[in-house]
Amino acid sequence: MTPLVAGVAIACGPGGRGGATVKPGPDLPLADRPTELPAVPARIETTTIAPDDGHTPAARSAVLDVMVAENQRWMATLGKLPDPAYYLAYQIVEQRIVALDAEGGALIGDSDETDRILDVELRVGAPELDNTRSLSDDPNGFNEPLPRRAVVPFGTDGPAIANHLWLETDRRYREAVQALTYVRQDQRTLGRKTGVPDFAAGKREVYIGKPATLAFDKAAWEGRLKRCSGRALRGAATRGSCGVVFVLNTAWFVNSEGTELQLSWTTAQLSISVGVKADDGQGLSRLEQAFAQTPDGLPDDVAVDKLIDTVTRDLDALHKAPLAEPYVGPAILEGRAAGVFFHEVFGHRIEGHRQKDDTSGQTFSSYVGRDIMPSWLSVFDDPTLATLNGQPLNGFYRFDDEGVRARRVDLVKDGKLVDFLMSRNPIGASPASNGHGRKQPGLDPVARQGNLVVAAARSVERADLEKLLLEEVKRQGRPYGMVFTDISGGFTNTSAFAPQAFKVNPVLAYRLYPDGRRELVRGIDISGTPLVALQSIRAASREVETFNGMCGAESGWVPVSASAPSLLVEKLEIERSFIPPDRPPVLGPPSLEKGGPR
């Protein structure tokens, strides 16, 4: 469910005085030994959906009218007050979440819940300086808005919905005015001030999507999940779980710039998970997930069986695998692992607001226009991509959570850093949003990734990548190289109070010996620093794979994807992961002792 995890250190800081003139960083020692690669790009074939495709004005809900009217009613007054509000946005998200979970052949969870959540964003002051400006000394964020999961009645009843909009707007205005007094006082005491504003204006957008419907055969899914989880509990596994989450989302957004959006879509997610505790106490698990737009788009039973085979086979192998030793040397990150690696090591550091926060390491702030990775690599994020190489992408959306149209952003072009992922919180280098302000309902948006794509202008066949790895092993005099085929997530620290390091958690890591032998190992993390890691990439494969998942950061969980070719990295550092001081159960499993079914 949560394969991608951003560093929580991100969420701990004040700041907001960034964006001043940034001195260029030192040149990076790129490709001192360039690898000759064929000028054949890695295969990327995509389909896109334009944000306003399917605009259906006739499907407009009366909920939007209520929101527009209440927004205008408030702004008509608030704009004239001594502490004027200059921006007011409402977002109502109605979510029906159906979750079915089975464990070991039996249904263990069955919920079907619908909520309507209201978020109000209200800005007081002026775009140049408003209530959201971080205080210089507010490490606990006392001056930040308090997200509150305000509720709104179901249906389209105007007076009922309007009353709840009014309640939360009143609270937010009171809170914003109070916060602005602290901001102004703070600014008066500061010697160093920034000219970068707090908010970027946006253009009016109107889009009405048809209401989606969620259709599924509950009894059939219960049967499938029971069967799935029963089959998954085999081999070394002491836990075998299968679950689905079906979500019907309808989001209405209006703001004081005149934007009116109605978006409705469904998502479906299947998870197959197995786990066991190794004899030394390490928790071992394998998770495979599939995402689709509708329940019918999820894998059929044949495909599910293959996924079960994969996770149980991997788990059995992991259970027998030895603990790895610390290592520095060449490695291959296979497609999905490379995607997660880029998401963690690069993607979170390219989120615009982190370049502004004084407590953030601002790893890439000083490298705009300069080489940060090999010239044959480019990276972009494009939420309008629906599929890549035929696979649906999880990070698709039409408009972000600030009412801004989603669009492709070239982040790295031919090795040079060119742009950042931007919400409506501007920075010096990027004064406007590029449609990446995202959040889960109930939280405030920040710049987030959507569909991150690593594009290689030069590539080799996958088999040749291993040959290059073994050549590198030989050149570096290492006993073996590493191959990572799956990474479960990781942690990237962007706080200036700690080293700008990352740590990602490989699930499947192999030693590849010069004789071609592969040996699975466990108990390791990949660590390093982003600038060094990116400039160590030596080659890419022709095939591109996609990792679909959910990403968590300070604005909550959002769906994302990361696509990348397999990458050969000249040097990666591997360290022993933390293994909790636990031990397996004192007694063996009950049914094993009896020889009965497990």
């Binding site: 209440e70 009613r73 408030w74 007054t77 608030l78 007050l81 464990e103 070991g104 052949g105 039996a106 249904l107 263990i108 969870g109 069955d110 919920s111 079907d112 819940e113 619908t114 909520d115 309507r116 959540i117 964020g141 006392f142 001056n143 930040e144 808005p145 308090l146 509150r148 999961r149 509720v151 709104v152 009645p153 179901f154 249906g155 009843d157 007076p159 009922a160 309007a162 009353n163 709840h164 909009l165 009014w166 309640l167 707007t169 009143d170 609270r171 205005y173 009171r174 809170e175 109070q178 916060a179 002491t238 159960p585 004192v586 007694l587 499993p589 009950p590 049914s591 079914p597 497990r598």
Partner: protein, 619 residues
């Protein structure tokens, strides 16, 4: 599956036990249910005899084999399986804001270990409060013995390891403090009980019915001037429990509750936040008010908010206070009930937490603790009080012990406390009041259906006259009547900013009862004036010695006693769902109570600017 392995520990039920269960059901059924037999909820599909057998087999195996080298083996293991089915809904202004059906099954295991008579329980491990010898997990919604047994294996293992750590820390702490191993025993033995016939209860009200009712009643509050926010919540839930212990207990019980809650919020002329509520709980919806009665209550609440908005803030006061109706139930609930438990404080509890823990009567057995005309009984075995259904009853407490009627105070003298299997002295035994858990893993003696009775109770007019006599005697300009306390688990709908929340957190005195929501000044001529912001000062247990009069007519009040404190609710606010079904089912039956002297002070909590924009619709 062979049952022979656990026959020794878990005797099979005798034939008459089915009759016992039926009798228990009858005894605990409500008056409304007795009038018209409601359709029964279907038996559990999740927890069957095979499930209990599977857990019993794992218990037997753990008792026989579970042992880490050099460490003591478990000497007591208990399991509680809880199946909960809930329908609840919330509506505001005629439309639902939340509707939920939930169904889940949990398995909880408790393991105790001991060395030289000192056992692991009721001890808080410093810096690791979650280590308490208790472990839990989920069970499937359909009976699957294979999974139940595996789950029992895993939670028993975890609870055992935790119990060992807890015991080690307890020994170290006692060594460091010089207390050594000599102490009252930490655990009392009880004779195992068997009663495996499922207790059947009436079927839950359907989610559709609940939603419809919440919407209908909440529509009464549309367009009411002076109301900022309002909501109506209904719940219907049942909780099936199975207890299995290594001392031979294998017994089941079921609780069933329906409830309704109306909450309104407003704002006074000076900006102070106002809240009022109305709650009723019973064993089924038949015990609740009708739609027409609820509509009337909704309108009453709206009128009360309107009146409160114009009411003056109370001034400082020290003098006689009369608690009437829900106010009397409230003063019992908040200032007396927490002290009736006979379970010793958890060792290792921080002093500031210990202060808020209750238990002020622990060393006063045999002494006069209340005014001589007051007596207290706690009785979980009854289902009615003065003809009304009450919800605090049960057959078996959370340690698998039969609930017993306990005479707590007789004519002002403390006779007994509400006890669990964690004794305060070597002679203590459980009287079946284990309901509330606390840090350290032990269950603590908790009130269930609490009955306060008074000899020589006065009619309402005479009681008020007595109040005024006291006022005159003290030379005061007025007395105070309190008719309702706040219940943050019901009213918390935080409209606060982050800074306002922090301010409240730093200013709050958690030793005080909650603010009074309905308070009146009453002048010597008998006129009443509504006041707001009434905050009682500390009400020490000895204040109960100075109850100078009581009423004749009892108030019967059901409630769910939240395990969180007032401040925690205020900080958390009402999250999505606003589920009115969490908390310990409880009731208080009490006459009105007149205290000789209590302190009151004005509370300006929730003072804020009035809205810059009027509510929609020009209200």
């Amino acid at each position: 599956m062979s049952r022979s392995a656990h026959h020794r520990l878990r005797p099979r039920p005798a034939r008459h036990l089915g009759l016992l269960a039926a009798a228990a059901l009858l005894a605990l059924s409500s008056p409304a249910a007795a009038k018209k037999a409601a359709p029964l909820a279907p038996p559990s599909q999740a927890v069957t005899e095979a499930i209990v057998d599977a857990i019993a087999e794992e218990m037997d195996r753990a008792l026989a084999q579970l042992e880490l080298p050099g460490a003591p083996r478990p000497y007591h293991i208990s399991y509680k399986v809880t199946e909960v089915v809930v329908n609840d809904a919330v509506a505001s202004l005629g439309h639902a804001t939340s509707k939920k059906h939930r169904h889940f099954v949990n398995l909880e295991c408790r393991v105790r270990v001991k060395i030289d008579g000192l056992d692991s329980g009721n001890f808080v491990v410093a810096g690791a409060e979650a280590i308490d010898g208790v472990a839990g997990t989920s069970l499937p919604l359909e009976a699957t013995p294979r999974i139940a047994r595996r789950a029992a294996w895993q939670v028993t293992d975890q609870a055992y390891k935790e119990a060992l750590i807890q015991l080690r820390n307890k020994l170290d702490a006692r060594t460091a403090s010089g207390a050594g191993k000599s102490a009252p025993p930490s655990w009392t033995e009880v004779k195992g009980m068997v009663g495996e016939e499922e207790v059947r209860v009436p079927r839950l009200e359907s989610l559709e019915d609940i939603v419809g009712r919440a919407e209908r009643v909440s529509a009464e509050l549309r367009g009411v001037p002076g109301l900022r926010d309002s909501r109506v919540a209904l719940t219907s839930f049942l909780e099936r429990r199975w207890y299995l212990t290594s001392d031979g207990t294998s017994i089941t019980d079921t609780r069933r509750v329906s409830g309704v809650m109306l909450v309104v919020h407003g704002q006074a002329a000076d900006g102070q936040e106002l809240a009022q509520y109305f709650t009723r709980y019973g064993q089924t919806a038949a015990d609740l008010p009708t739609d027409a009665e609820l509509s009337r209550e909704a309108r009453n609440l709206a009128a009360t908010i309107d009146a409160l908005g114009r009411a003056p803030l109370i001034g400082r006061y020290a003098g006689p206070v009369l608690f009437e109706g829900e106010g009397a139930a409230g003063i019992v609930r908040y200032t007396l009930a927490p002290h009736l438990g006979g379970t010793p404080l958890p060792e290792g509890l921080r002093p500031q937490e210990a202060k808020l823990f209750g238990g002020a009567l622990a060393d006063k057995l045999g002494l006069r603790v209340m005014t001589p005309f007051l007596s207290i009984v706690d009785d979980p075995t009854t289902a009615t009080s003065h003809g009304k259904a009450i919800i605090g009853g049960y057959r078996i407490d959370d340690e698998g012990v039969s609930g017993q009627r306990v005479e707590v105070v007789k004519d002002g003298v403390l006779r007994s406390l509400l006890t669990t299997r964690t004794p305060a002295s070597p002679t203590d035994t459980s009287n079946g009041h284990a309901r509330r858990t606390a840090k350290g893993g032990a269950f603590h003696g908790t009130a269930t259906n609490l009955f306060v009775t008074a000899r020589g109770g006065l009619p309402p007019a005479a009681l008020k006259k007595r109040l005024l006599a006291e006022v005159r005697a003290a030379g005061l300009p007025h007395g105070i009547i309190i008719r309702r306390f706040d219940d943050a688990a019901v009213t918390a709908a935080s409209e606060m900013s982050r800074r306002e929340l922090l301010q409240m957190l730093s200013n709050a005195d958690q030793s005080l009862p909650p603010p009074a929501l309905l308070a009146y000044r009453v002048t010597p001529d008998g006129k009443e004036e509504r006041v707001r912001g009434a905050q009682l000062g500390e009400v020490p247990i000895k204040a109960w010695r100075d109850v100078i009069a009581a009423g004749k007519t009892p108030t019967v009040f059901n409630f769910l006693a939240s395990t969180d404190g007032y401040l925690e609710h205020k900080l958390g606010g009402v999250d999505d769902g606003f589920v009115p079904s969490s908390g310990i089912e409880s009731s208080v039956t009490t006459p009105d109570l007149l205290f000789k002297e209590l302190d009151l002070r004005p509370s300006t909590t929730g003072l804020r600017a009035r809205p810059a924009v009027p509510p929609p619709g020009g209200r």
